[in-house]
Amino acid sequence: MTAIIESAAPIVVPPLAKSPGYWTGVWRRFKKDKVAVGAGLVVLAIILMAVFADYVAPADPTRSSMLRRLRPIGTPGYPLGADELGRDMLSRLIHGARLSLFMGVVPVFIAFVFGSVIGVAAGFFGGKFNTITMRTVDVFYAFPSVLLAIALSGALGAGITNSLLSLTIVFIPPIARIAESVTTQVRSMDYVEAARASGANALTIIRVHVLGNVLGPIFVYATSLISVSMILASGLSFLGLGTKPPTPEWGLMLNTLRTAIYVQPWVAALPGAAIFITSISFNLLSDGLRSAMDVKG
């Protein structure tokens, strides 16, 4: 019989030249994808703009002026015009990026964490636990996402926290479903069986053998929800369920400028264009990640 006898001296493992790992390949493939890289740069620019809004914005986004209401694009001092209260549109758009990005990323991220835990557990443990969990998930899945978000926000009442909560609840079921289905596939792989045969407990197997193989696909799916989340969050604000004035937020700006479409139509349409550009950049970035990470489906 063989045995490992540990010597008193510390064991030195001579390092070996590692093969280029999975992520090196992902990065190499991603770099080649011009559209995805471009979208990534736009997203980066928007994030930087939001973070440094105080330095980038030319004016105070909340300072109103009754004399300069609804100025057209190109007015001196108001490069993108002025809104219904005479506030500088450019500054409001720059500051508005903060909340819109926040509402795009944060609910998806929280839902990613909870949805992954629920889905991976259901997929790995299977059986009755899986049935009960996935049936509950199916109930939420029975609502179109817009309807669910509005139902929850409508019941909870307006406000950022409630919007955040509603959107998180909206995104947990779809993420849990994807997580469950990829985990079920991985669980039946022989390497998971081999890990069980080596006596490892469920948590160790999930940590070492399951997560590394399921988090990628779940993550890619989650990134594709960021644009949905942004659009929904702005939609809630548009209905008056999200942020309250005078906070600059793209959906709310669109709402308050709705009546101005007869006076300054293109100024009124600007916040929506900002949502559109951000959302399409996130979608293209997500598509690029999907092909670079070689995720099927």
Partner: protein, 344 residues
């Protein structure tokens, strides 16, 4: 912390693993049940290789998974070197250090995100070996299975060929220092030339580490090459078991005969003209009454469809050969059965 050696409790020449009436049924819903493994009894002696053969669907792989305890049996128990597997003297975790398994699909049985050495080192770390010691052991084992650690240890599975991957899987199985290794169609997916190399490696490792093998395959030639004894399974049951050469030269069960006659032979003088298997293909969902082989058996008689034949000693004085056929049971009622007087 280090892996301790496993003392040989029963001494050489005693069974390493005894399976007693192992049973595994899979409910299908609607009352139907797949009788994948149905009351299987066998023993594997220390240092021997027990071959397991049978058509696909006969329960070979389910037997392997139950023996490995990847799926729990419904009935029956296993003794490992005299101790109940999963009992208080031999916990499941401890048993899994002493019994390991190699799977058929060399790619699916390696985590694509781990390097080769990390995959091999995983088992020992689970049992408390330090990461560094486990990695060193992994590299040592790679050397022993014929892969240069400097070239292969830090590679990923997709960079290796099927034969190389299967060597890695063997190294992974050996990493815990097991006494029993279950090889479930471990060479079946390999090219013939690679298969031969891996078979030789397995034979060498058995000598080097004093291993005991359960070798499952549908390839009768390969089983003959590596096994000491052979067990033939049909629809979840053992129909015949015995030393390999005796069984191959003088099969007693009609199913074994049919299997062997269907085996391609290199020797033109040795080709049988006997009819290959006919009749209904075996279906483990609704196995026939009596002897499960009787609908396809050329010698079937009334008794065969009524009474299930026991696995009885046959054709040998020392009791090493057994078969489950009414033609081997004295006074069974089959016209070709030996008479009771002759037996007495």
């Amino acid at each position: 912390m280090a892996l301790e050696t496993h003392p040989d409790r029963g001494g050489p020449g005693t069974p390493l693993l005894q399976a007693k009436t192992l049973t595994k049924h899979f409910p299908l819903g609607g009352g139907a049940v797949v009788r994948a493994v149905d009351g299987v009894d066998f023993a594997v002696m220390k240092g021997e290789t027990l071959g397991v053969v049978g058509e696909s669907g006969c329960g070979k792989s389910t037997t392997a998974r139950v023996v490995m305890q990847l799926i729990p049996q419904d009935k029956g128990e296993m003794l490992f070197d005299g101790e109940i597997v999963g009992g208080k003297d031999l916990t499941l975790k401890e048993y899994r250090r002493q019994a390991q398994m190699v799977f058929q699909d060399s790619y699916a049985s390696l985590n694509p995100r781990l390097t080769i050495e990390d995959s091999i080192a995983f088992g020992p770390t689970v049992h408390g070996v330090s990461k560094a010691a486990a990695i060193l052991r992994a590299r040592d084992l790679l050397q022993r299975v014929g892969l240069d650690p400097a070239r292969f240890a830090a590679r990923y599975p997709h960079e290796l060929s099927g034969g190389q991957r299967q060597r890695v899987n063997i190294a992974r199985a050996l990493a815990l220092g097991p006494r029993l290794v279950i090889l479930d169609e471990a060479v079946s997916a390999l090219d013939k030339s690679v298969e031969a190399q891996v078979l030789n490696l397995l034979a060498d490792l058995r000598e080097e580490f004093g291993l005991t093998y359960i070798f499952i395959s549908h390839d009768l030639n390969v089983v003959r090459f590596i096994s000491d004894r052979v067990m033939v399974m049909y629809l979840g049951e053992v129909v015949e078991i015995g030393p390999v050469e005796e069984l191959y030269n003088d099969p007693r069960h009609p199913y074994t005969k049919a299997l062997l006659s269907a085996m391609p032979s290199m020797d033109p003088d040795n080709r049988t003209m006997e009819a290959p298997l006919t009749g209904d293909p075996p279906n483990p969902i609704n196995p026939p009454e009596g002897c499960r082989f009787h609908p396809r058996c050329p010698q079937a008689q009334t008794v065969c469809s009524k009474v299930k034949p026991a696995l009885v000693v046959t054709a040998s004085e020392d009791g090493t050969r057994r078969a489950a056929c009414h033609m081997e049971i004295p006074g069974s009622g089959h016209s070709r059965a030996p008479s009771l007087e002759a037996a007495a």
